[in-house]
């Protein structure tokens, strides 16, 4: 059922959510809009195409405690479990889509990442459709769109001075019927569908430039191409692309101990770092920028699709905007297609 909520009522809802649980929302600070815990709706920035960092920060935090240990003569291990419930507001369609891609890695197969699973279970995602996609956005290249709502518990679409709303899951219905009680009104179904359609069909200019179709297969026989040598030379070897990416999920485990007790953490790692694959004996199967750059793009556009049958990218455009040297996935897709077309 489609609903509407006024901007003022949405503020009231967000204030309630901030009071009753942990609310994460876009905040503008020193010129950067990013997701942060907020205490009140008044802290939230609504004028953003997308946040600098993604919902990944709160479902799969950059570092999190896994266990506590004591090693004074004996050994005891205490598992640490993420318990805190949270609501994330203002999540864009590309980031909602990224959650499904992360789910495939972290919750399927023989082993589940129980920390991620717990956070997923305890997080309500409130999506916000895109009014004005940035010139680096290309979600449509992957078949998503500015109104794509899959993954949201509640989806909001700005419609004039109010919002069209739809609860898409039990968690979402609990928000609408619980803290949201009395704040939503039923929407005119036809008008609401028209709003959704307008968002779904909204133009994403950069998306038109990036044709992803068939890139997974083109890369099947591209491992040895000279292209990787050429393109990787400009890589700075920093972790920007991997850390701002909503789908990059590589991590390392690390201990910090003092006086017989300590913590084991899980921290993000980056395939762009030289030490990432370096083994204890010194051998490194990916010794130079060429192998590392190739790995990142092959993973997103070929290896992951082989395993999980979709691309590991949602076209959020963060790497397009933030890679200091313009070595981003949209460019690689265009380049590979160009190389193949001339081959």
């Amino acid at each position: 059922m489609l609903l509407t909520i006024t901007a003022d009522n949405l503020k009231s809802l967000l204030d309630k959510l901030a009071r009753d649980s942990l609310l994460v929302a876009p905040v503008l600070e020193d010129g950067v809009t990013r997701l942060k815990p907020v205490k009140a709706a008044s802290e939230i920035a609504l004028d953003y195409s997308n946040t600098a960092t993604s919902i990944k920060d709160f479902l799969f935090p950059q570092s999190e405690d896994l266990l506590r240990f004591v090693t004074d003569g004996t050994l005891s291990i205490e598992e640490i479990k993420p318990e805190r419930a949270q609501v994330a507001f203002g999540i864009r369609p590309c980031d909602l889509a990224s959650v499904a891609l992360m789910d495939k890695v972290l919750t399927t197969g023989e082993y589940a990442d129980t920390h991620y699973q717990a956070r997923r279970k305890n997080t309500v995602l409130i999506g916000l459709a895109c009014e004005s996609p940035a010139d680096t956005c290309f979600c449509t290249s992957y078949g998503y769109n500015p109104g794509h709502s899959a993954g949201a518990d509640v989806m909001l679409y700005k419609d004039g001075d109010q919002y069209l709303a739809e609860a898409l899951s039990d968690k979402g219905r609990e928000v609408v019927g619980g803290p949201g009680e009395g704040l939503f009104k039923p929407a005119d179904e036809a008008a609401g569908q028209a709003v959704k359609k307008a968002y779904a069909e909204k133009e994403v200019p950069f998306g038109k430039e990036v044709d992803v179709e068939g890139i997974d297969q083109l890369l099947d026989n591209f491992f040895d191409d000279q292209y990787w040598d050429d393109v990787s030379k400009k890589c700075l070897g920093c972790g920007t692309c991997t850390y701002v990416c909503p789908t990059c999920h590589c991590f390392l485990l690390t201990d910090e101990a003092r006086g017989g007790e300590g913590l084991r953490f899980r921290c993000w790692d980056s395939c762009m770092f030289a030490n990432y694959t370096k083994m204890a004996g010194g051998h490194n199967p990916r010794p130079s920028k060429k192998e590392r750059v190739r790995q990142r793009f092959m993973h997103k556009l070929n290896y992951y699709p082989h395993r999980y049958h979709s691309y590991l990218c949602t076209g959020c455009g963060r790497c397009v905007a933030m890679c200091p040297v313009g070595l981003h996935i949209a460019g690689v897709i265009k380049d590979v297609k160009g190389v193949k077309a001339h081959a």
Partner: protein, 323 residues
């Protein structure tokens, strides 16, 4: 009206083609078009057929010198295009004995200031067709509109107080040298303001900045003064800074880096420019510059010299007793 960078693009391509073809260099480090006309990106070409991808335009800000470290263990020369500010970065790498000047062919690009692509992109001028130097302004003509942009507003800050418009010691110079005067004096007023802040307020300011850090190390990787063979932050044993992302580790990283390049920073501002979280890293460096100027009487701590302020120790001049 003086020449713009674009006026030198054809000459640069000719030069690089010649150098690659006659084997005097094995590769050239320059610029290529980025995602739009406001964000040129580094490009490293090794074959003559790639040279037509090289561009030069008035947005070519990226300091390329750090790439030279990728080639120090290989035979042969690399070519590189450097502006005045970039020449200081090159000087840093040479003075630190990390780059052998004889293995670099330097193509110098005299520079009257680089347009801040981030600012200009927001004006909605569309794809840039032409940039003309009008003296105190650049006229930017795009396919969606044109605008005369005063240099004092649209150049990168560092260009305004730049006193190194002409790259020193280039092997080839594109065009002729430009008048070498700063548009305004070096301005430390923001640093003075920070110094005057009550310490709790100042701590809050920096806490806010460093808590944004994602530890991507882009600042370190682009910095010509961060040229250690193995960075302390990459050493696993002992691990000086933990991998966990928390304020204390972030601060440890940034303060260590700041102090390690103190007196060696060439003021290129690249760390701050490439930071994806827009942390004002140059405020740390400029505070240290200001201190070096005031404490050591060195008016230009950012110009690499044989004798660095913090790179020497004379026991006879040390007022303190031996520890």
């Amino acid at each position: 009206m003086s020449a713009t960078f674009t006026d030198h693009q054809a000459a640069l391509r000719d030069e690089v083609k010649k150098l690659l073809t006659d084997g005097s260099i094995k590769g050239f480090i320059g610029y290529a078009r980025g995602r739009d006309s406001y964000h040129p990106v580094p490009a490293i070409v090794t074959r003559p057929d790639q040279v037509d991808g090289l561009i030069l335009d008035q947005f070519s800000i990226f300091g390329l010198t750090k790439y030279l470290l990728d080639y120090i263990f290989e035979d042969g020369k690399m070519g590189i295009v450097v502006k005045g500010c970039d020449a200081l970065g090159l000087g840093r790498l040479i003075n630190d004995h990390r780059v052998d000047r004889n293995k670099v062919h330097v193509v110098g690009l005299p520079c009257a200031g680089v347009l801040n692509g981030e600012k200009v992109a927001k004006l909605g001028l569309g794809k840039v067709q032409r940039v003309t130097d009008k003296g105190s302004a650049f006229l930017v003509e795009g396919d969606k509109g044109s605008k005369e942009l005063p240099k004092t507003e649209y150049l990168w800050d560092k260009c305004l107080w730049c006193e190194n418009h002409n790259p020193a010691g280039a092997d080839t110079l594109l065009g002729s040298e430009v008048e070498n005067v700063a548009m305004k004096p070096r301005d430390f007023s923001d640093i003075t303001a920070l110094e005057k802040m009550p310490s709790a307020e100042r701590a809050a300011f920096w806490t806010r900045q460093f808590s944004r850090c994602i530890r991507c190390y882009a600042c370190r990787n682009v910095c010509p003064a961060c040229n250690c063979r193995e960075c302390v932050f990459d050493i696993a044993d002992p691990r000086w800074v933990g991998n966990t992302v928390k304020l204390s580790e972030q601060q440890m990283f940034h303060f260590t880096r700041a102090f390690h390049v103190a007196g060696r920073c060439v003021d290129c501002g690249e760390c701050e420019r490439v930071c994806p979280m827009e942390i004002p890293l140059m405020k740390l460096q400029r505070k240290l510059q200001k201190d070096v100027i005031e404490l050591f009487g060195n008016p230009k701590p950012f110009v690499p010299s044989e004798v660095e302020v913090l790179g020497q120790f004379r026991v006879t001049e040390d007022p303190e007793e031996f520890m």
